[in-house]
């Protein structure tokens, strides 16, 4: 494990949905100098007031082990699961992409959106808002193609992920 290669890991953290819990997680990363590539959080179990945080981070194997141990010792944390290490998982992102333009460029953007199976969720005479879900790579590719066609705004959720197979976190 004395290895210095930087690995990217998707970590799922099940926490109590209480005031300050997100600040605790973020403060842990900033205070100890760990990376956050993306972080998403939402309540997933209202009955038990549990939220799920999906954090994408990177570091050497030693740092990643530290990150998990540090997360796990936070008092409101119920479970820490390293989806990258634990095997097959599905990871998805959602993006809303605003493109402004007219004429050929407008038609071209619609055509590409169709190829990517992005839906139009808002349109005006001069703009579209596309909704696209998929892997980070897919969204990156879509965004790249939209750039010359009048891309003006993007909102991305960051990754949410879940393990394949029947077992819960």
């Amino acid at each position: 494990m004395d290895d210095k290669t930087i690995e990217r890991h998707i970590i799922a953290v099940l926490v109590d949905n209480e005031a300050g819990v997100l600040a605790r997680v973020i403060g842990l990363f900033s205070g100890r100098g760990y990376n956050i590539e993306s972080l998403t959080v939402a309540e997933v179990d209202p009955r038990n007031a549990r939220s799920r945080i999906t954090v994408v981070t990177s570091g050497t194997p030693q740092i990643v082990e530290q990150i998990k141990a540090q997360l796990d010792r936070l008092v409101p944390v119920h479970k820490v699961s390293d989806l990258t290490e634990e095997g097959e998982h599905v990871a998805r992102e959602l993006a809303l992409v605003k493109v402004r333009g007219s004429g050929d460029r407008r038609v071209e953007s619609l055509r590409i959106a169709d190829i990517f199976r992005a839906g139009v969720v808002d349109s005006t005479a001069r703009s579209f808002v596309f909704e696209i879900t998929g892997s980070t790579d897919k969204i990156d590719a879509f965004v790249r193609l939209m750039e010359p066609l009048g891309l003006v705004d993007i909102s991305r959720t960051g990754i949410v992920a879940i393990a394949r197979g029947e077992k819960p976190i």
């Binding site: 109590d16 141990a69 010792r73």
Partner: protein, 587 residues
């Protein structure tokens, strides 16, 4: 007021009493007035009034460390809370169980920049193990109980409970103490995995050059852990070294004890760490002050690491065999396995190992040049040790050279007798900590080994000592410098003593007297014994101003960025080995 209902303040005190709290260290203010009013009306919990909130936290730390119980602090909102931040960080670094109750402005004013408002949970989030903002009186009892549970279970640490004034004044039902149920998410593992224990004992039994390296975790685990550690160490016949935090877990006067290790540890302890083939780390965390240069740290050893905190494992040093668990529980498991398997140490290899160790011991690394005219700080501590030997003494320290000399020259044969700020290195810790110890042990001899710079950081607490007639002894090794700063400036910064000289020091004798205590002064070596004897005789607090050599440096020393086998043994050593550039940037 309905008879069967209690106010939030009364609930707080009732819960503390249910948890066995006898004493609270604190300072009143607007937001906590309701609790102070409730305190006034009851007799179960005693309140010690400090002179600054920082003192309250250190006093609670001293109380906690000398008793193994949770220390409780009560301060007001805003400045009361911010003043406690240093102490909370100190307790976090040294794993001391504390509950700090902070007042807060009423809930409807939170976020309004109200008078004496501070975002206490925000400020203390990174310096506590956990914190709570109690938003409803109905949650209050549960959250205070939970705070004490969290502070004292697993790796101990400080917990803040922020109490808005309206919650303290609100009424609620308060039934009997709830049965302690398992916490919904925080359940630290205390028992070591058996297969790891088995493999560890195989390794330990087969070792040819073993060493036990144990730390504050053994102390925190309770006196039973120290007893079991002693049993295991004696059964194996292996050498043992303690960290600064771990002193007292194994009797310092025993032959198998090699002294403290690390930056100012002994030659024999550090070389044994460097050359060992099996290292058994129990309740210590491979701190940078212990390891020196990580890449050259104990390069030939298999490392076993017992710790209750999984995040301590593989943090600084990669280990071969981690065991997550409570020190006492794991030590009991280890001893059981040792007996079951009827292990015997390799006596031939061990004899050879001890031969090497005894050779290193002969270097007598703590030797210093005696003087007939100037008091050497080491001499003062040797005399303090000699004249208090046989007594049950509790020592606290401030931070700096005097702290390291105290760790080197005082002999701790029992746990919970040594209170020092290890992780954070907080100057000003020792006097309030000594007050906390004295509160816990009113009849005991409590000595704060201090420096003249550190003591001034919390000197106001002399007033606390006076108010409660606490016979705390403050033994100042006064060299008129921030000694450790001066030493580093001499060794690393070309002798440019930038701002480390303590000009305009007070007359410590008059200072003691003005606080209704006794001041003593020793100016030459022949004064030392008399001053110590007088200090021990007086039944009030004493400041003993020991005027020591201004330029004495603390050796041995592993310079920053160097390895265990590159120790400086004394002044003559330093010229030969200039400190590396990588070393210069380290703290």
């Amino acid at each position: 007021m309905a008879k069967d209902k209690l106010t939030g303040s009364e609930i707080v005190l009732k819960v503390l009493a249910e948890e066995g709290t006898e004493v609270v260290f604190g300072y009143p203010g607007g937001a906590v007035l309701p609790i102070y009013d409730a305190l006034f009306k009851q007799k179960t919990i005693r309140h010690i009034l400090v002179r600054q909130e920082g003192g309250a936290v250190h006093a609670a730390e001293g109380f906690a460390r000398s008793t193994g119980k949770v220390g409780v602090v009560l301060v007001t909102s805003g400045p009361g809370a911010t003043n406690s931040v240093t102490g909370l960080t100190d307790a976090l670094m040294d794993s001391i169980p504390l509950v700090c109750l902070t007042g807060q402005v009423p809930t409807h004013l939170i976020g309004n920049d109200a008078f004496q408002e501070a975002d206490t949970t925000g400020i203390t989030r990174p310096c506590t193990k956990h914190n709570y903002l109690v938003k409803s009186v109905d949650d209050l009892a549960r959250q205070v109980h939970e705070a004490i549970y969290v502070a004292t279970h697993g790796r101990p640490g400080p917990v803040v409970v922020d109490l808005p004034k309206d919650v303290l004044q609100a009424l609620a039902d308060h039934g009997p103490a709830p049965r302690r149920e398992a916490h919904k998410s925080y359940r630290p593992q205390t028992r070591g995995k058996q297969d790891a224990i088995d493999r560890a004992m195989d390794l330990i039994a087969a070792a040819k050059r073993p060493i036990f390296y144990t730390g504050g975790g053994v102390i925190n685990s309770g006196p039973r852990a120290s007893r079991l550690l002693g049993e295991l160490v004696r059964k194996t016949g292996y050498p043992i070294t303690n960290t600064l935090m771990g002193l007292g877990a194994y009797p310092a006067t025993d032959r198998q004890f090699l002294g403290m290790l690390g930056m100012h540890g002994t030659y024999e302890a550090n070389l044994a760490m460097y050359h060992c083939d099996v290292m058994v780390c129990i309740g210590a965390r491979f701190d940078d002050r212990v390891t020196g240069k990580i890449s050259e740290f104990s390069p030939h050893s298999k490392k076993i690491h017992v710790d209750i905190d999984p995040s301590s494992i593989n943090k600084n040093v990669l280990v071969d065999l981690p065991i997550v668990g409570d020190c006492a529980t794991v030590l009991a498991q280890m001893l059981k396995r040792w007996d079951e398997k009827k292990y015997r140490p390799d006596t031939k290899a061990l004899a050879k190992w001890w031969q090497s160790i005894d050779g290193w011991r002969k270097r007598n690394c703590l030797a210093y040049e005696h003087s007939g005219t100037v008091i050497k700080p080491q001499y003062a501590l040797e005399r303090l040790q000699a004249l208090t030997a046989g007594k049950d003494v509790y020592f606290t320290t401030e931070v700096g050279q005097h702290q390291m000399w105290a760790a080197q020259f005082l002999k701790f044969d029992r746990p919970n007798r040594w209170m020092t700020s290890g992780g954070l290195g907080t100057m000003g810790y020792g006097l309030p900590a000594a007050i906390g110890v004295q509160v816990a042990h009113p009849k005991a001899l409590v000595i704060d080994v201090a420096g003249e710079a550190s003591i001034l950081m919390n000197i106001q607490e002399l007033s606390t000592a006076a108010q409660y007639r606490m016979p705390v002894k403050v033994f100042i090794l006064n060299n008129q410098y921030m000694g450790m700063v001066r030493q580093w400036q001499e060794l690393l910064h070309g002798g440019r003593y930038s701002e480390s000289y303590m000009a305009s020091l007070p007359d410590f004798v008059k200072l003691a007297e003005s606080f209704h205590g006794v001041g003593l002064i020793a100016e030459k070596p022949s004064d030392v014994d008399g001053v110590i004897a007088e200090m021990l005789k007086v039944d009030r607090f004493v400041i003993a101003d020991i005027r020591v050599d201004q330029t004495e440096n603390c050796f041995p020393m592993i310079p920053s960025g160097a390895a265990h086998n590159q120790m400086l043994l004394g002044p003559a050593d330093k010229a030969a080995r200039p400190i590396s550039e990588e070393g210069m940037v380290l703290v």
